[in-house]
């Protein structure tokens, strides 16, 4: 397994995973990449920014270490605590350490979306106007403080943010403000590609200019030789997404579509997808290195 540097020593990299439409395997890609890094000794914090459809805590490796809890306060509760108040001194109430695998050399923590079994979580979502929070309630400072606090308290090598699919406000905040690297996950259908291109251009105009990594997912087994529809799509992507590296290709497998397994944790990579996720990790790491040198 590849090594990914000494843990906790390099600058933390905030990586937002975003997709314009659901069902492309964004959360699965994030989970696999996080597992690759954790297994190889990195400290990884996961943040579930998908408040409408949180999913990360449902992976067994990301369940709380020790006594399992049904639900845990997270991002929504943290924001509610910060509005109009001094930010909490510690983040331990809002994150937990994940169970992981016995052979892990690194560690993973998760900040869940929130305690979505509680009625006040729904109230928080319904009563929240992101524009009001961001522009009049110090929202952008609260989020910058959370970013710095995570770095100070957990010394992560990577912070992975899973965003809600589409053009939501919180996805905009994660990708445009907090991210050092934005991983844009897309299927090869026309609407998905067009939407991703819009996000790509939008990210190019932000003041903090995150690096962009492209990931096509899930790509069915089709002819890929010159002149094939797949080849033509790739040519279009290279033409339109100027200056971006060639996209990572994550293959489609019906078993994974049916049951989101973390294949990088399986010894024999039965679906030949593990290698693809490892390549995606390499691309994220290269983007992190390039960003550090920029």
């Amino acid at each position: 397994m590849a090594e990914y540097g000494k843990p906790g020593t390099a600058a933390a990299r905030f990586v937002a995973f975003h997709s314009c439409q659901g069902g492309v395997g964004r959360t699965l890609a994030l989970a696999n990449c996080a597992r690759v890094l954790a297994a190889s000794g990195q400290r990884v914090v996961l943040m579930d920014f998908d408040l409408e459809a949180p999913g990360l805590q449902h992976f067994s490796v990301f369940a709380p270490k020790g006594t399992p809890k049904q639900a845990h306060p997270g991002f929504a509760e943290y924001l509610a605590a910060c509005v109009g108040n001094e930010p909490p001194d510690s983040l331990k109430d809002y994150l937990y350490e994940c169970k992981g695998c016995p052979e892990d050399q690194g560690r993973v923590w998760l900040m869940p979306a929130g305690n979505h079994g509680e009625p006040h979580y729904r109230e928080c979502l319904d009563g929240c106007t992101w524009n009001e929070f961001y522009t009049r309630r110090d929202g952008y400072r609260i989020l910058e403080n959370l970013r710095g606090h995570l770095i100070a308290e957990y010394r992560p090598d990577y912070v992975f943010m899973d965003t809600h699919a589409g053009f939501s406000e919180l996805s905009g905040i994660a990708t445009h403000q907090l991210a050092d690297i934005a991983v844009l996950v897309f299927s090869l259908g026309e609407p998905n590609l067009r939407g991703t291109l819009r996000v790509f251009h939008s990210l190019r105009q932000t003041p903090l200019r995150p690096r962009i990594v492209l990931a096509a997912s899930p790509v069915p087994a089709v002819p890929m030789d010159k002149g094939s529809p797949f080849y033509e799509k790739m040519q279009w992507i290279r033409r339109e997404f100027q200056d971006a590296a060639k996209p990572s290709i994550i293959p489609y497998h019906p078993v994974l579509a049916f049951d989101g397994r973390i294949v990088v944790d399986e010894r024999d990579d039965p679906f030949s997808c593990g290698l693809a996720y490892r390549k995606l990790v390499d691309m994220i790491r290269e983007a992190a290195d390039a960003q550090g040198g920029a």
């Binding site: 109009g84 522009t135 910058e144 053009f167 939501s168 905040i173 939008s202 003041p207």
Partner: protein
């Protein structure tokens, strides 16, 4: 001013009947009445005219083929406000605070002139009928203008709306939160984001 309702009704009927002569006659009377009210500093007449002119602007948008639909009346209503009102009336001030939906709507329209009611509903995360009711209040208070282009309505602040927003004195429910320390926020990053950055919505910065 006793004849004001009569001339307004005559104008509407003339518009509906496409009676060009009737339209001109009513326009002349109303414009002349507005000028007289301004010259005489007749506050009651100004207010009565403004209320009627705002209503007429909407009707004119639908029917008037003799000039720029509705613009005459909106402009006249703005002039009446600027020329004759010494202090902002109470109703606009009641609608302006940003803690209220109406105030939030005004702020959105100031940030992006020409928004449609649907876009506003999305930004405010409210349903369309709720937004529509608030827009009616704001329009009748003379704070916004609706301009129809094709099938869409586009929203703009009136001169009175801009003035009411700029001149709004903060009330207790509307004050900025007290200053809070953010010890972990990176000043360099905050500096890059700038003072009071806009919500980085993916649609707002997209090209093409």
């Amino acid at each position: 001013m006793d004849k004001l309702p009569h001339h307004c009704e005559a104008y509407k009927k003339a518009l509906q009947a496409n009676d060009i002569e009737g339209i001109h006659e009513a326009k002349t009377w109303l414009t002349s009445a507005a000028a007289t009210a301004i010259l005489k500093q007749d506050t009651a007449a100004v207010r009565a005219l403004r209320a009627r002119l705002t209503e007429l602007a909407g009707v004119a948008d639908h029917f008037d083929i003799t000039g720029k639909p509705g613009d005459r009346w909106r402009t006249l209503a703005d002039i009446l406000y600027v020329a004759a009102e010494n202090s902002p009336p109470a109703e606009p001030l009641r609608l302006v605070p940003p803690g209220k939906l109406s105030g939030s709507i005004l702020k959105h329209i100031r940030e992006q002139a020409g928004l449609t009611p649907n876009e506003l509903a999305q930004r405010c995360q409210k349903n369309h009928s709720h937004i529509s009711n608030e827009l009616k209040k704001l329009e009748s208070a003379g704070l916004i203008r609706k301009v129809r282009k094709g099938r869409n309505q586009h929203l703009f602040l009136s001169a009175q709306g801009r003035e009411a927003l700029d001149g709004r004195a903060p009330s207790a429910g509307d004050r900025e939160p007290p200053t809070v320390n953010y010890p972990h926020a990176d000043p360099e990053r905050l500096n890059k984001l700038g003072e009071n950055p806009r919500l980085p919505h993916l649609f707002q910065t997209v090209h093409g």
